[in-house]
Each structure stands twice: as structure tokens, then as C-alpha cells.
Symmetry: C2
Subunit: 533 residues, 2 copies
């Protein structure tokens, strides 16, 4: 039983000296080799045969922080450069693949998105025995190993690895954590390019549910390692840009007493002896923060939609990047702030995440994202006109359908060469009750959507900050005034004119990279059919 | 009816020219004055009396972004310095208080935490009529006004305002958004010092439920303006410090299929035709991110506890600052990283938020927070010994009670002069099943809590990354193995040794500032009895 081998403490054997630990590790190593033999086609080395590699390879006992090897310095795979040729280093990485042939074992080590070739050659001088080569050949894929090795410049570049100028020649190999022999998916398959014009594209792919069911493995592909670093970058840039503009981060409650916008699409929750709801938007709280003199606020957090939409772009739980801002005289002060935030964010991604964007591009067809500075701002009637010229007829008070939006995105791209634009002045009729009417056109409103590659990623508006007008508009929309009494009351305490918007993080990342499904940009996605893992 | 006055668009009168708008504003102003008269003890000026201030005061029509005044430049109250003596500026601020006496009105303007005195003197030369003075005197407290005024150096400092060297002498005053005459609480009351040794302490205070019921008003006090800016600072520092150390931000789902740690204290949710739960911790997802090679991760997000605890330090929803980190050989690599993160955060708060900390100190007794660099780290047996010397007897496998923790905090403060310390090596028996046992002491574990002013603000541990040991420990704790099968499975795919912890944001802010209730540091707190506003 592995537990007793690797964690003697649990079995009550507390006084494990370093010497005893080494002995235990040896024992564990033997057992590991035996166990692995069953799954492999090799032969077991005769136990009596002398092994001059003893003490240079094997399985570590379970890492319980015993204090051993605390001072050992490790080198990252990405830092294995040709300038370090000849140096001996410790590396901890996953064994991605291995192939033992007689006296040699070739393996690929992977750390995050970086890979390097590892050579284990039988050599009495280097104390690498054939038993040791065999041991390495039997380490299961995706196991984590410690390698002590010499950095050696390669004669010809190793094209299959990200580190191609050097390889590692091992003198010690230790198993840190083993993966099971049968993996539910292979990283090579999960990482295979999915480009349309790629002849490789015909090979085995891993379907999305298999990926998501085994997300821990799926997330190890270079593209996924990059996607979630880019997602972290979007959040960081969003917050830093706004903080520099004087915005204050707030946190809004997810548990609320009444549905945010309407009774539909809201998750209900048992709350002690009563019930409550999950917030579909932080909007009312952002607005209260404005009424409470925080002037410019943003919040990053979970948003919930109980919508039974099984599409490429809907999740039941997503991360909202929301902001709200008081303005002095015109909501375009806010629109321009948001637009500039996007432009600065796109520039930041392009300049700071080039390697990650390229890594995603290795697997998926990623067209570079184009943007303008300042961003393009169109008014709704202009969009109607462009669509009309393309053969789509819309009334001036109609909303855009999803196909209209996509077409418009293509038209805008062709005409202005930008993947991001702002569409201002939506018809009043298609916007929520709290949207400020346009003072000059009774059919228009002070509201806007923002688009990336023809898909909406932000919806926003100047909000009505006058309690009487708000009440009138709510009644007009058939909203129960009693249910929003506290909301209306906020504006009886004096409130600056303000506008804002909400951005879906996963959509921004999906569309920035030109990916085809929002589940690719949610680490653990939730949809009507999935609440695991 | 105010709606028709201030937002003619809604009534179909779209073609409001600037001239007409001005006329409408005048009409609204008259009405406003009449309305306010009812609540005031003044007299209505004879409508026929000539008013040489016409066009210099009144009520703006509703700010619908008509395009008027777009180029007007405003000066912030905090920037009204003596160096600007004699300059004319536009200021938008709340009217905190006003007192009209004959030909003069003294008012206090407030913007965020800054206040300045405003003088409105009858003066034909400056076109300030007695009607205008009366108008200002009748503006309700907490209304937002635009003031065009001259900055004038004061003969003696205005002690009651944060800006004491200058005051504003008005030549125009416009009402932007009016507050209702009867406010549910007065800002002066809500902002009154609550220091124990303060003679002012005997005056009227606003009780906590009244504050929370009217949070929009309550949040306007200087202390609250400061508290939530400090809270934003804690989040920013936490993220920046960790990002600089190579951590990646992740987002973990709040909707989960099984209760995180135990079936107790979890909120249940209807999820389409089934049910789901609200995550009590992001821990399992952080660990999966480690198993998925993200190495060092943090996440900031809502955490839910369905615990019927009505104490000064429990919320049913709070913001978790969570982190998890793979290490090479010893979990102290992680403990030291977390400890240093706290030290850097405390230093950042002290250096970057001095004004905000002082603002909180104006209302509450705030002892400066003391910390050491590097932070103090004690082991559990040392704590037991210190408590024993103070007369409290504890077994070596007992957990600390809340009073024990508080006493220990005082003992540590007296001995080491620090309000922050780390307590390492908790008894294995009192920690969750996934806690790594100490390899050298069967009764101890590789786990730790961190404390601020004697209250726990972080709990963490090295987690068991070996599936067999994890299974054995879960069984030992009576955990249903089937329910955590997916969790255990994560560790069959190869996983680095790792440790982490979770921090309660609101507790950190409460304890950093020495406040007495966690509801003071949650913008819209949730507890068993409160889900509003």
C-alpha cells in the first residue's frame, strides 16, 4: 500500500531520520518500478544485478516538508538558454513523453508552456545505469520529476520543443508525483492545432465535454496556459487603467432580496427560513455607490443568469467587469472613458502578452485583434443605414438581432478596419426602464453597446437619477414600483448624473483571441447542463 | 409634477431649444422654491420684486446630456488651496449644511471627504440678490449644487472644514439634484466621533441598523469614504504584490455541485430542474489550478457561509482573498510568501493611505497597526506555553478558542510589539482532512493561522497531494469518499506539493483599522438577518 511506503507518519512511525527516509524512498522506488512494469512492455531488471546508479534515481517519499533539499536551487525550463551551455541544473517539470530505446531514453519535459528535450544515456562514468534508463522510460506521462542534468547545446535545433537550442543530459532523475498510467485524454491530442487550413487538422481531436470533464489535464495545454494568463491580464489591465483614472474598487453583494432586473432568469436560493436571489448584475449597487459619493467605481465579480441558453456565448455564471461613473454634463464623458479603457487594454494585451497570444495561435486560428485610438463611435441610425445598404431592413426602433450584429461587425471591419467599436444612441424602446431618454429625440436614448468582432461585450447607459422620471419609466415598462422602492429611494437623497456599463470577462477574452466558444475562456464553466467539476 | 418640469422629453416635447430649456429651468426653480418654502420658516419673496440675480441661480433642468456646459471645467474641493486665492472656479459638491441670516448664507460644501465653507452675500455688484441668498438657504441638505465662486483666503482658519485656509464666495448657485427635506439620518450624527475618551461621545449616535438601512447616506461620512478606499487598497496591494511574485489570477465558480467542505453551513440553490450549492471556499478550484500547472494562483471573490452566527465578525457573504502555491520542498516557502505579502500590504497601507487612516481616526479610536518585517512566526506549542504562563491551560491537541486567541494576541503584542503574527503547526486533530500531517510529529500538521489584533484572518495549510493518503485521511474524518471522488482524482494526474490559504477581506480591513464590527467594512453587508439593501 502506497500510503505506508510514502507517509510513514500516518502509520505512527514518526521518528523517520534522513537515513531511514532515504531507505524508505528506495523501497518505494522499487515498488514503483514493479508497479509500472505491469503497465509497460519492458522487463524487470534482475534485482541482484549491481546498479551503479543507486542514489541517483528513484521515487521521492511523499513531500511532507521534512526539511530535505530545502536549499536546492531549481532552474525554470524557459530559462534553459544556450548561454548556460555546460552548466548543471536542477529542473522540476512534467514528463510529457518518453521513449526508451536500449541504452537511451529520450523524453520531453514540460513546465507551463515551455518544453525541453531530456536525454538519459547509459554511462558508467555519469553513473547512469540501464536500470535507471529503464526507470525513466517507465515513468508515466504527466508525472512530475526532478532532474539533475547538464545543459547541452544541440547540434540541430529540437523543433518539437519550445527550447530548441539546448537539451538536458540527465545524471539524476527522481519521481516527485506520479500520474496514473491511463489518462482520460492525451495532452498531445488536446493541444493539436485546430486550424482550418492545417493538414494536421484531420487528426484526432478531443471533444469539448471530455476536455471539460477532465479540465485539470485539459488546462495543461500551451494554449490553455496562455488563455488564462491573458484572462488574468485583462482583469489586471482593466483595474489598473481605471484605478489610474481615480476609480475606486467596490464589492457588491451576490445574495439579494429581490431580482435585479426582472423576475425571469434569476436563481433562487434558500436563505435561512426565507429565500433570496443571486444577483444578475451589480448595477443597482454600483449606482448606490455613486449616490454615496464614490463618484467612479468598478467591481469585478461573479454574475449569475438562470437562462436556459445553450449557445457558444452564454454561461449561467460569468465574471462581470462593471463600472459606473458620475459625470458633470454629458454621458459621453463616461462613454469616452470606457472606450479609452478598452483601447488601453487592447494595447496592453498586444504589448505585454505577445508570447501568450502566439501560444494560442499555435493551436487556434487567431487573427490579430485590430483597434483604433480613439475608438470608433457610431450612432444607431448609422448602423441601420450600413445594414440597409447591405440589404438588411430594420425599423428605427428595432433592436439588432445577433446575426445583424455579426454582419454589422463585418461591415464596420471592412470600412474602418477595427474589431472594436461603440454603438451609441440605441432606441429607447429596446432598453431597460432605467435608461435615460435622449433629450432631443423621443425615440432615442442615452445608451450604448460596445462590440468586439461583431459580438456585444458591453451594454451600458446613462441611468435615470431623477426619482420621478424613474418611477414614470418603470410604470411605463410595467415594473412593479413596490419591488424597486429602495432603488428609487436612493435618488431622493441627491445623486449625480451617472452612466456605466457591464463587461463579460470571458466574452472579451474569447473575442479578443477569436475563439469559437466561451467555455474555452472560463476555467470551470457553468451552463444549464454543467456544474462540474 | 416635477417630471414634466424637468424632463419635457418624456412628455413628448422633444424640441427643447437652449432658450426654452433656460425658461423651463426658471420655471422649475420657482416651483422648487415654493416647494421648499413649505418646509422652511422663511417667507416667499414677492414674485413681482425685481431680482438682479436672474440667470445666476436656480434649478438646472434634469441632466439628460443635452450638450449644455460641456466645456465647463470644475475644481475639486480638495484642490481649493490658498495658492488659488482670488481665482474664480466652478465646484460641484453636496450642500452639507446651510444657515441663512438676513443678507448672508453660510454653507458647508462637501465632496467625498473634503469640506469647504461657502458664503453667499447679498451684493448688487456681484449680482447676488436676497432672493438668491434665500434660494440657497432653502436648498435641502445633501443636495448637489454647482457653485461659481471666488476662492478667498480666510482671516482665521475655518476649523470645522477640512479646507480651512480658504472659503468660497459665490456668484452663481445651481441645484443639480435635490435631496428630500426629511433625511432618515443626519450625516453630522453618523460622522460624530465615537471615541471613548471624547466628551463629544455622549452626543447622539446613529445605531447600526439605521445606518445599514440607509447605507447610501451612511456611506457619505468621511470615515466611510475612507474605509472603502482602504478596502480597495487592500485588494489592489494583495493582487499587485502577488502578481509581482509571479502569481496568476484565476476565477473559480461560485455555483458548485457538492458542498465544498461539509454539508453544513451551505446555501442551496435551485438550478434548472436540479439543485446546486454556493461555494464556501474556492479551495478545491485553486488546488485544481495547481494540478493544472498554474503553479501560483490567487483569486478574489465572493464566499458564502450559511452559518447562523450573529457576531461582530461573521457575514454570510464575504470577499475572499485566496491564494495557493506549488512549492519545491517545504511548505514554509508558501508561509513565508504569504507572511511577506501581509508585511508588504501593511507597509503599503501605512504609506499610501495615511490620509484615509487619519480620516477613520477622526471618528473611531484607531491605534496604529504594528507589524514586523519579517513577520513573527510562532509554533503552536509556544502559544500553548505563553497561554499557560498567563494561566490558561490547554492540551497539546486542543484548538484555540476565540477568547484564547484574543488573549494570545495581547500576550504577543506585549512581548513582540506586533499586531500581526503567524501561528504554525496546528494540531492535526483540529484541522480538516486534507491537511498534510507533520512528518516528524504524528500529532502536528503542516498548517497555520495568521492573526491581526488577536483575531484570525487567514487559515491555511499544506494540502495532501497524494490520492492514497488523502483517501485515508478523509475516511479517518468520516468524509464520504464518493462525494470527493473528483477532488481525489485531481491528484492522480500528477500534482506538485502545494500550500495556500484564504483571507477574509472585511476582517483584514476591520482589524487593520481596529474597528469593532465587520459590518463597518462591508459596503452592503449580508448576515442571517439582513439581505438588504
Amino acid at each position: 500500500m502506497v500510503v505506508s511506503e510514502t507517509s510513514p507518519v500516518v502509520e505512527g512511525d514518526a521518528a523517520v531520520s534522513k537515513k531511514a527516509a532515504k531507505k524508505a524512498a528506495k523501497a518505494a522506488e522499487k515498488q514503483q518500478k514493479k508497479a509500472e512494469h505491469k503497465a509497460s512492455s519492458g522487463t524487470t531488471p534482475a534485482e541482484s544485478e549491481p546498479d551503479y546508479s543507486e542514489g541517483h534515481y528513484g521515487t521521492y517519499k511523499l513531500m511532507q516538508s521534512s526539511g530535505e533539499h530545502r536549499d536546492r536551487v531549481y532552474t525554470d525550463v524557459k530559462d534553459l538558454t544556450v548561454h548556460k551551455n555546460g552548466q548543471n541544473v536542477w529542473v522540476r517539470a512534467r514528463l510529457q513523453t518518453s521513449r526508451a530505446k536500449g541504452k537511451q531514453c529520450f523524453a520531453v519535459l514540460r513546465q507551463n508552456s515551455s518544453t525541453v528535450q531530456l536525454l538519459v544515456n547509459v554511462s558508467e562514468e555519469m553513473k547512469v545505469s540501464k536500470q535507471m534508463v529503464k526507470f525513466v522510460g517507465n515513468v508515466t506521462k504527466e508525472s512530475i520529476i526532478d532532474v539533475y542534468a547538464t545543459i547541452v547545446k544541440t547540434a540541430i535545433p529540437v523543433e518539437s520543443c519550445t527550447i530548441s537550442q539546448v537539451e538536458l543530459v540527465a545524471s539524476e532523475v527522481w519521481l516527485v508525483s506520479s500520474a496514473r498510467a491511463q489518462l482520460p485524454l492525451q495532452i498531445e491530442d488536446a493541444a493539436r492545432p485546430e486550424k482550418n487550413d492545417d493538414p494536421e487538422g484531420l487528426k484526432i481531436r478531443v471533444n469539448q465535454d471530455t476536455r471539460l470533464d477532465n479540465r485539470v489535464l485539459d488546462l495543461r495545454t500551451p494554449a490553455n496556459q496562455a488563455i488564462f494568463r491573458i484572462e488574468a491580464g485583462v482583469c489586471r489591465l482593466f483595474r489598473d487603467i481605471l484605478t489610474n483614472k481615480g476609480f475606486v474598487e467596490i464589492h457588491t453583494p451576490k445574495i439579494i432580496s429581490a431580482a435585479s432586473e426582472s423576475g425571469a432568469n434569476v436563481f433562487t436560493l434558500s436563505y435561512f427560513k426565507s429565500s433570496a436571489y443571486l444577483a444578475q448584475s451589480p448595477q443597482l449597487y454600483k449606482q448606490m455607490a455613486i449616490a454615496a459619493d464614490f463618484d467612479k467605481v468598478f467591481t469585478v465579480g461573479a454574475v449569475f443568469r438562470a437562462e436556459d441558453s445553450n449557445t457558444h456565448r452564454h454561461l449561467t455564471e460569468f465574471v462581470g467587469l462593471d463600472l459606473e461613473m458620475a459625470f458633470k454634463h454629458h454621458y459621453h464623458e463616461v462613454v469616452d472613458t470606457i472606450g479609452q479603457t478598452f483601447t488601453d487594454m487592447f494595447r496592453g494585451l498586444r504589448d505585454q502578452y505577445a508570447a501568450e497570444i502566439a501560444a494560442v495561435g499555435q493551436q487556434f486560428q487567431v487573427e490579430p485583434f485590430k483597434f483604433l485610438d480613439p475608438p470608433l463611435k457610431l450612432e444607431f441610425p448609422q448602423a441601420i443605414q450600413m445594414l440597409k445598404e447591405a440589404g438588411v431592413t430594420l425599423g428605427e426602433e428595432d433592436d439588432l438581432s445577433t446575426p445583424d450584429e455579426k454582419l454589422l461587425g463585418r461591415l464596420v471591419k471592412a470600412k474602418y478596419d477595427t474589431d472594436f467599436y461603440i454603438l451609441d444612441k440605441y432606441p429607447l424602446a429596446v432598453r431597460p426602464f432605467y435608461t435615460m431618454p435622449d433629450p432631443n429625440n423621443p425615440k432615442a436614448s442615452n445608451s450604448y453597446d460596445m462590440f468586439m468582432r461583431g459580438e456585444e461585450i458591453l451594454s451600458g447607459a446613462q441611468r435615470i437619477h431623477d426619482p420621478e422620471l424613474l418611477t414614470a419609466r418603470a410604470r411605463h415598462h410595467g415594473v412593479d414600483i413596490n419591488k424597486i422602492a429602495a432603488y428609487i429611494e436612493s435618488f431622493r437623497l441627491g445623486c449625480s448624473p451617472h452612466a456605466g456599463g457591464g463587461i463579460g470577462l470571458e466574452r472579451v477574452v474569447m473575442l479578443y483571441l477569436g475563439l469559437d466558444n466561451i467555455r474555452k475562456t472560463s476555467m470551470f464553466p457553468r451552463d444549464p447542463k454543467r456544474v462540474t467539476p
